[in-house]
Amino acid sequence: MFEIIMLISLLLIAISSLMYIYRVIKGPSTPDRVIALDAIGINLIGITAVISVVLNTDAFLEVILLLGILTFIGTVAFSKFLEKGEIIENDRDQ
């Protein structure tokens, strides 16, 4: 029973990821694509968590934190590129 619930939730997260992928491909503007990629990263965190419950292991808990940090840094880098055109500035005050 518990296993079936976990598999159903995996299926639902997978379907929502597919819809985000549709938004990444189709998205009319670049910010749409960036937000969709960010949400795909969060969905990956959910998939990892559910799979670590299904496999009954705690070896993937580091992966969850790591994906969260990497998604955040990636989204910030993309947003800065969209806003300023350069990701790493030499001197901010000029």
């Binding site: 910030v76 300023k84 790493i88 901010r92």
Partner: protein, 140 residues
Amino acid sequence: MKTNDVILQTVTKIVLFIIVLFSIYLFFAGHNTPGGGFVGGLMASGAIVLLLLAFDVKTVLNILPINYINLAGVGLFIAVGFGAGSFLVGEPFLSHAFDYFELPLLGKTELTTATIFDLGVYLVVIGVTMTIIQTIGETE
């Protein structure tokens, strides 16, 4: 147009400590659980990259006055020096030893010399990643 990055900079100041702590945790947890020098080094350089994103190259150089090429060199020296150190006790190259110690606070702890090699890997990964990112970012 001058933009206002107060939210990004404040979030960075808090999240930075979490990322650095997580990288140190990954570095020390690598012996018995997933983790190790490579992922730890990547996370530490991720923290520095976040600092570079929120501030600029000049400020980060003020906070962390590190020459990353030298850091990679120091890491390589530590790793190779650890490997050569096993010659001193008449063992083959890169053989390591471990023992149990009674530490204050931590109790019975297993200390291995493999940690020193991992420290070398950690420093090399930080040095190489930050060198690549800074040389790409600085060109104008």
